[in-house]
Symmetry: D3
Subunit: 125 residues, 6 copies
């Protein structure tokens, strides 16, 4: 088993220990080794790297998904939840989304802000 | 003169006091009030807002421009320089660009990393 | 209060006098001054400018939103309604959407045409 | 009647003989000659061309729509069905979608894989 | 020879009578019938349609190309020249580009404005 | 050392045995393990997978890069060369690029065709 895969699994232990299993049940039949690949690439090769703290990494991902527009809203939801879980504030999330009006345009910003509003409401805030 | 325009001008004093003049000389003839509009909208209405520190704001902008691809490389250059000026490290810049391979794809990430490499080389690093 | 903000508010009086209030109720708690910012930037700094008539401005916005794809369909709906309100014809709207097949591709064009069809149906045409 | 239009109609005979009529009923009132235009441009001018087999053409379209993100999911559905009809395997479809994680990013890939999963389920697989 | 192809050729007579020949010399060897296809699809099936005047069509194309970002700058140049040729003013071109900051973001708008500036300079303005 | 990394290195032996070294010299100082990560993710986790032949994989990548527009032209060049190396014909490459006019629009298609023309010319065709 590869080092990056190990690192990815270790990283997920503290964040979302069921994720590899859930991905596997949904996708491994269609795409063999799908769950293992994503754990290795996303968590072992990117999010577990040193040099940028996890809060800034998640804020940056929210920025990018906002600028890419509403088509990534399922992933935006997940990253907003993950960001809240590691201590990013609702204000920081809303501010970075608002800032993206300058780069992704007004519609992308408003659509992302609606997604954030929905996530906050679901979480009882 | 509006409050947001004032805030934008104040904000630029400490960062890039010549910017409004430079924009004005380049674009105000074609688009009347261009420079004033951008100072107000970009700096008065976004970057001077509280709730998200300037380093995280610039890292987020670098994330978004990377994910949008090489077409924004002139703006990516400027934001990388601005980020270095406020104390973001080269490592943080490279890490956030690398992370964007997951959202903007490998080509967008490599093109942005080449831009960062060029900026670092110009600045004598 | 700034001039651009005043211009934006004046412009909205004749088009959609409740918009600032509606935006404020939905978003100002999450993003302080959100409604004021958008009125200033969108209406005070862009749509109220001289040099391009409002009908052509709205047709151009419909063109851009079509080319950007279905992710901006909530904003496309609003701009189609606004365009009809200022006298743009259904034919002009459909023609500019169809033209966008050359720039945004066939799927983007068809998705936008479906949105237009829905808006026309809602309005009883 | 033009040659390309004839070629498009001939091509559709073996694939989807009702398509021109369906498009005409939905769109020709809004955009006169819409159905004829699309048959000519899409089928007469592109898919009926020699030099690239139809299976590879459809796999390539699935690749492009995946990389463009979830906003084209209605068209992705249709192209997945068409690909299955001409003998592209489910495995080939899933593989090309997975490959697109490198170019369109992880969210685009996952959204397209969900669409494929839905289509396969509908078709009773 | 098809009707749409005829319409496209007629349309080009008054605008750019050499275009089909130029496209043919550049591309027909690689893509047989390339020039004929583009004349038919772009000019016979879109720009020659009634229902939207040519000035508004070209302004809309400039809007869409601006919002799509700097990657389409060769096409933006051509459409700016064509727009000037049919009587669109420099002011109208600059205004629609500026408006696109709301939909394509600030970098896309600035890059397009630079392209317009270059075209105007070349034409001796 | 991980299995996917091994697979990626094996795969590259027959295609481009110097690539990991070249990537390492250019990028590993800025992004530690950059070259290893890309070999693992791109070649170990994607291109070496069974279920889709390498010619179709490369044609699909050319399709996606074309549809994403000229910003990915450096990567398009590489993939066109790689495709020729594994036996994809120039005609197949030109056909899939032309087909993308339907999904990425005319400008994206023309820009990609120009890139292909340049690559063919360089290679002495």
């Amino acid at each position: 088993m590869g080092e990056a895969l190990d690192r990815g699994r270790d990283f997920l232990q503290s964040i979302d220990p069921e994720l590899e299993k859930i991905l596997g049940e949904r996708y491994d039949e269609l795409v063999p080794e799908f769950s293992e690949s994503l754990v290795e690439t996303i968590y072992g090769r990117v999010y577990s790297r040193p040099g940028l703290d996890i809060k800034t990494r998640l804020i940056s991902t929210i920025a990018a998904l906002t600028a890419q527009g509403a088509q990534t809203s399922p992933q935006l939801r997940i990253n907003i939840k993950n960001a809240l879980n590691v201590g990013v504030t609702k204000q920081e999330i809303c501010e970075v989304i608002f800032q993206m009006s300058l780069y992704g345009g007004m519609p992308a910003m408003i659509n992302a802000l609606n997604t954030a509003k929905d996530v906050f409401a679901e979480l009882g805030d």
